[in-house]
Amino acid sequence: MQLVLDQEQQELRSSVRKFLAEHAPPQRVRELADGDGHDAELWRRLSTELGLTGLVVPEELGGSGAGHVERAVVLEELGRALAPVPFLATAVLATDVLLGIDDAAARADLLPAMASGELIAAVAWDQESVPAATKRDGAWVLDGRAQRVVSGDIADVVLVQAKTGQGTGWFRLRGEHAAKTPLRTLDPTRRLTNLDFAAAPAELLSSPDPDAVRSRVRDLAAVALSAEQLGGMAKVLEMTAEYAKVRVQFGRAIGSYQGVKHRLADMHSALEQAGAAVRYAAWTADVDPQELPLAAALVQVLVSPANFQAAADAVQLHGGIGYTWEHDAHLYYKRAKTSELLLGTPDQNRARLADLLQI
């Protein structure tokens, strides 16, 4: 297994980091968080100038044919910057659904446009509320509600796992055919939207085993989200360690007190281990597909709670300033809590890991 980045991957990382520092600085993220939460210009440039949107899309479909290790590197940087772009929805979830199903026509139709940034796609796959698909006059329509769809508010295309007469199927429909109810969110930098379908015209995507697609997409999403969380965690550690060096109380920098120093050391220790696990999981997604479910469960169990703990400690160690709206610490705190719960709670994740281990 390969846990260290090669030269090219390191270069990818530094170019994305530099680009985001320039084009998605904290003020910009805040502005957008107060607005519609989406930076169309940044998305366009990430797609066209850096070619990141189609990272795992094969070259013949307009992507760059790279792997999950590269995608994880990009997600780390996006998480570090809290970049307000629909990467998770389009370049992860929707891309993975399309690559997972058996529908060459849909792939050829959608992936090039997604890779070039023209098309934003979102995925509705919440298992709590599953829309129903029925055939009327020879055409499929969807009814029901999809909850908390990531980037659902701005999606041009929505991929939906819906109930059919025989199990489930994957469908595509145009964003405008769903009634969109943007939700107020714990995390202002990650928009979630309810989509209501009332006889919405949809197209069935060819997929022999829709649930298997869902599982693989879920595992890949866990890896991707963990990478994003790792980036956020690295950022709060950096920010907090810097602060601990300059903030003086009782005549000493607070970082010289063990009560502070040791908490930062624990944060570092958790980050290092999470980092190794994320590299492993991304490597597994590329090279060792049989191990992916286990690696995905592992990385989620490790990273989600550690990220939240780090974000909460960051607020604590900044003291009053950290609790202030103007400070960035709360943005990471809110993102961390949202990410911790987005794909299942920590105890559900541990139960899933236990299942996979056949305990």
């Binding site: 297994m1 390969q2 846990l3 260290v4 550690l237 360690a241 601990a244 060096k245 000493r252 920098a253 970082g255 010289s256 063990q258 502070v260 120093k261 040791h262 930062l264 050391a265 624990d266 570092h268 220790s269 290092e272 281990q273 999470a274 980092g275 190794a276 696990a277 590299r279 492993y280 090279v287 060792d288 597909p289 049989q290 191990e291 592992l298 169990v301 490790l302 105890d347 541990r350 139960a351 890991l353 236990a354 281990l357 305990i359």
Partner: protein, 441 residues
Amino acid sequence: MSAPEPRSRVPRNRTSGERDAARPREAAEREIDSERDHHRESRSGTAFRAGVRDFLARNAPEPLGELEPAEQLRAAKRFQAAAYDAGLIGITWPAEYGGQGLTAAEQQDYDEEAAHYDLPGSPFMVGMGMCGPTLLDLGSHEQKARYVPPLLRGDEIWCQLFSEPGAGSDVASLQTRAVRDGDSWVINGQKVWTSGAQFSDFGALLARTDPDVPKHRGITMFIVDMRSPGVTVRPLRDMTGRAPFNEVYFDDVRIPADAVIGEVGGGWLAAVTMLGHERVSIGGSVRRGGDPLAYDNLVELARARDRAGDPVVRDRLAGIYARERALALFNTKLRQEAEAGSPPGARGSVAKLAGAELLWQAVETAGLIAGPALTSWEDGDAAAEEMAIAINATPASSIAGGSNQVQRNIIGERILGLPKEPQVDRDVPFRELKVGTQRRP
């Protein structure tokens, strides 16, 4: 050094390979799969791995827990020598000094295969993990050529003579003196908690050679022959009731001038070098083999006690598994980084700290699984006995090799660059310091 490894008689036989085989393979994945095998093969050499597997199948001794200490040591030495002769010890060490000159990939192959056994490695840990690497870093060519090959083969065992009654975490406060006398150095003083001194042939000794300079500057590291006249080793019992460590007294012990490792007065650099290796080796070795507190054995315990279905037990076990894997992956990553040219430095402290904390979680989980049954057992119940020893040995890993607090200081100061604690003694000549609770030199 690390806690003495408690040994379990439960073999670690559930390999991930077997788990793989039990799973149905998706047809679509086959292609990628064969690519992966190819990938692995080209990187790590299946021939080497097959050799390891074959060697271990033939030579790995039964766990030694039941044997008398002296017999355990003989069996451990037999195994070490056989493994060395088969080319499996010192895999990444330079061939010039008796190693195999191979890469981290082969080491990884060996480690993965060895993890299925409960191999008797602990008598060699200080030598292999700490003294040997320090000799390679700082020793003269003659020292390396003389000491490294027999160290690897297990013919000569090493111990680390750092800690003293007044100088544990604060190693640089040590008071053992070395005074130059013609062609020799004469050593006087006392060391404590010296693991394995009772069966060691050599020790890496830190002694004060100049009390007139500040404490970090007046120290020198020496190679000392533990059979020299004037060396007295007295066993110390630890809280498990066993005596794996010792007090060591030096009374006018003469050692030759060429026994200095590195520079005279350069002992602090040598100490820091060795402590760095120590953290990496302890961190990397935690929770292998037959530790009753390892994940696999806790699962066995849960099954045996019919507790595996309890959601809370499952939750904790999954948590232990995750941390154990995270630590193993982190260690692998450190090794790969080292091979790519960036040595771990202070990051070994992360592994050391994580390993110690993992054990505490495992102790808690063992209690959750077994309940009051953990408190008492009938005579002759070896598994219960070993679990009890493991629980009683757990504090060792949070103290030995630098306490958890000290590791956190290292991470905070050397990795994160946080300001140091105020230091009152950094610039004061050692002679003027009040050290620990001890007499002045």
